[in-house]
């Protein structure tokens, strides 16, 4: 009988077993006990175990992570949120995945560059040991190649901006005669600072369809759009993928004369507006927390410091994972300096700072 078969499918059986097990573990979940044995078995809170740490340059490292149950296969170019406990406190940051699915077995890699004064990036690069359990978000982001990939590609990257592009190269069949023709222009201060330097050079040496231009900015200066036209004369006719510091992205976008849908950019950091105004008292209504905030610190960071469980995503105003309802007061967009907000507005906490007293429904 179809009905009987449908109601005893493995998924149904598993769901019923889990519901039954919940009666035995209430008020906890079965996975709260299972994760005592292996934290990767928890699905409510996706985890990943660090399987290897590989130094790429003096200040960048690739972490090979085995994701736990519930991980969704990513697409090359996407990023993931990573939660790491430092001195007892959980910190979340986003990093591009630097490998294509399947290229590291069941594992994925992220490549982190330690930025000056960056608590999380420095911790991940210098203090991560094999076996560390990290919290993972879902793979996200639209900086992904279409299928099939465009016939002619130009990647322009700088610094750690190479990481999503490395995943894309990893996923492309470079030795395929019908594969895309690729130009990669990458900027780094010196040859030793090029993340994946050896791997990229070896790929370019082996595959005639991949041309690599390294720009060593300490000797040659910053890359200008004019340089791009010289290095790759047909640059506006190619599908262009740019990832690097905001100034470089803006520079190239301003000079782009190709079709609008031919230019793809990925931002890595938030560029705050010049002047911050005065802040105010921030109250998180659901958790009952109150704290003082200055006019330049995003409410996301303010809430996290106060111990509120803040939803978060890209932390730079793109993904809208952090939105929360404004109960009262106004906020300042830290990117533009614009003050806005009415009661009931959904605001992005990662780019909104307090402009006077504020109440947030969290």
């Amino acid at each position: 009988m179809i009905l009987t078969r449908a109601s005893t499918s493995p998924a149904t059986v598993l769901r019923r077993l889990s519901a039954a097990a919940h009666w035995l573990t209430s008020p906890l979940l079965p996975e709260d006990y299972l994760s005592l044995i292996n934290p990767l078995w928890a699905t409510r809170e996706l985890c990943g175990r660090v399987e290897a740490v590989h130094a790429e340059t003096s200040d960048a490292a690739t972490l090979t992570i085995r994701p736990g149950r519930g991980w969704i296969t990513h697409r090359p170019g996407q990023w993931v949120r990573i939660g790491v406990d430092i001195d007892g406190r959980r910190h979340w940051r986003t990093f591009s995945l630097s490998s294509a699915p399947g290229s590291s077995g069941d594992c994925v890699t992220v490549t982190v560059k330690a930025v000056r004064g960056g608590l999380v990036s420095n911790h991940l690069v210098r203090h991560t040991v094999v076996g560390t359990v990290l919290r993972l978000g879902r793979p996200e982001g639209a900086f992904v190649l279409p299928e099939p990939p465009p016939p002619r590609l130009l990647f322009v990257t700088a610094g750690s901006g190479i990481t999503p592009v490395m995943a894309m190269l990893d996923g492309l069949r470079l030795d395929d005669v019908d594969g895309p023709d690729i130009v990669l222009v990458h900027s780094a201060p010196t040859p030793d600072d090029v993340i994946f330097g050896r791997r990229l050079r070896s790929l370019a040496a082996r595959h005639s369809r991949l041309r690599l231009h390294e720009r060593h900015t300490r000797a040659e200066g910053r890359l200008r759009p004019a340089d791009l036209a010289r290095l790759c004369p047909d640059w506006t006719e190619r599908s262009l993928w740019v990832c690097g510091p905001p100034a470089m992205l803006d520079d190239i976008a301003a000079r782009w004369t190709g079709p609008a849908d031919g230019l793809h950019v990925e931002r890595f950091s938030l560029a705050p507006a010049a002047a911050a105004g005065s802040g105010g008292r921030v109250r998180f209504t659901r958790s009952g927390r109150e704290t003082e905030a200055d006019g330049g610190t995003p409410l996301l960071a303010v809430g996290e410091s106060a111990g509120v469980l803040m939803p978060s995503g890209c932390r730079m105003g793109i993904c809208y994972r952090c939105v929360a309802r404004l109960r009262s007061g106004q906020v300042r967009d830290v990117r533009t300096g614009q003050v806005h907000g009415e009661t009931g507005d959904m605001i992005q906490t990662c780019v909104s700072a307090a402009a006077g007293p504020v109440e947030i429904e969290l």
């Binding site: 009666w23 008020p27 709260d32 809170e45 007892g88 111990g307």
Partner: protein, 369 residues
């Protein structure tokens, strides 16, 4: 402690500033060590619970029954007291771990976490030992101070206090519904009904788990498992009742009137918390088993500081009290529990007409009925 204590004679604000300093120091030093403590404790508690339930499955062996019941009792006590109570106070919110956070935590007690956070964290911790405000005082049904008018029903209070100890978790849950406030219109009956449904849902899950599902799984050991679970729940109830009653009712703990709250400063708030709370002396294991409510004074001064720090700051708080001439009520479990029971027995009878010397000075009770 001095029998005649006058808060007006000390510099309460200086006392408050010193306590603020201790609080700031602890907050600034929270880190890896504290996170490891609570994570380790939670893991140990869950393993102990699993071990206890596994042993009970082998309870045709009498020693296995005793060991399993003991392990389960300890696990339930840890879950309620050192873990649940303190997590719900937000003591571990600073870690930003959604699995150990006051807004997500639920515990193995009949009171739903949300209701508890209101009645305990807000009502009790704000109005500590204020007659008519702090509903923890005597749990309404008890007379624990001469200021409460006597009624013949109180003759039975030693008996129902013992009963309350056995069924403590249900007592708290029903008490939190504030049913006595409905007739006067101070509580919306609809709200009370919604709360009662939430309590019933929790109790149902508990009963299914401890008295039906696990006994059934044990097959022939149905009855021993059921009895083991019942014993563990009741032993936990009696222990929690004992520790909690030692927190505010031993001799010397002061009771306040509402006028005391008028324009109360931060320093005066600290002093009220101090005078209304009593510590229990003991070793490290005892403090953990009591949920660090044995450091009731430190807990009431700093309800949101992680409990593993109370033992560290207790000597400093005590030294401060000595310096400012304030009492610091601490004693052995036998002394404090004995004192509570003497009080429950004495107050069951009418009188005394005027507060005895060790009771709060009259000036703080001037508006008492």
């Amino acid at each position: 402690m001095p029998a005649t204590f006058h808060p007006a004679s000390i510099d309460t604000e200086a006392f408050g500033r010193e306590l603020d300093k201790i609080r700031d120091e602890v907050l600034a030093s929270l880190g890896e060590r504290d996170a490891a403590y609570i994570r380790g404790l939670i893991a140990a508690q869950r393993k102990l619970e699993l071990a206890g339930r596994a042993l009970l499955f082998a309870s045709w062996l009498p020693p296995a029954w005793a060991a399993g019941t003991a392990a389960l009792t300890v696990a339930k006590i840890l879950e309620n007291m050192e873990i649940g109570h303190n997590v719900l106070h937000g003591q571990w919110d600073w870690m930003r771990d959604p699995k150990i956070h006051s807004t997500t935590w639920e515990w193995d007690l009949a009171s739903p976490a949300d209701q508890w956070k209101h009645s305990h964290n807000f009502v009790h911790h704000t109005w500590t030992n204020v007659l008519g405000k702090d509903r923890d005082i005597g749990y309404s049904a008890m007379r624990i101070t001469p200021e409460q008018p006597w009624h013949p029903i109180y003759l039975a209070q030693p008996f129902y206090n013992a009963l309350l100890a056995l069924f403590f978790e249900y007592g708290i849950a029903i008490y939190d519904l504030e049913l006595e406030r409905i007739p006067s219109g101070r509580k919306d009956p609809k709200e009370a009904f919604a709360q009662a449904r939430a309590v019933a849902a929790k109790i149902r899950r508990q009963i299914v788990k401890d008295y039906i599902a696990f006994p059934l799984l044990a097959g022939p050991a149905f009855l021993p498992v059921l009895l083991g679970n019942l014993t563990a729940n009741m032993a936990r109830n009696v222990w929690a009742h004992t520790i909690i009653f030692c927190g505010h009712f031993p001799e010397g703990a002061e009771v306040f009137t509402e006028d005391r709250l008028e324009n109360e400063t931060r320093g005066e708030w600290y002093v009220r918390q101090l005078l209304g709370s009593c510590n229990i002396d003991g070793g490290r294991l005892f403090h953990i088993m009591s949920g660090n409510l044995s450091h009731q004074i430190e807990h009431h001064l700093f309800p949101d500081l992680p409990s593993n720090r109370y033992a560290e700051i207790a000597p400093r708080v005590r030294a401060l009290c000595e310096r400012f001439g304030l009492p610091y009520n601490s004693g052995s479990l036998a002394r404090q529990a004995g004192s509570v029971w003497r009080r429950v027995l004495r107050m069951a009878l009418p009188g005394p007409g005027r507060p005895p010397a060790a009771e709060p000075p009259a000036r703080t009770l001037k508006t008492a009925a």
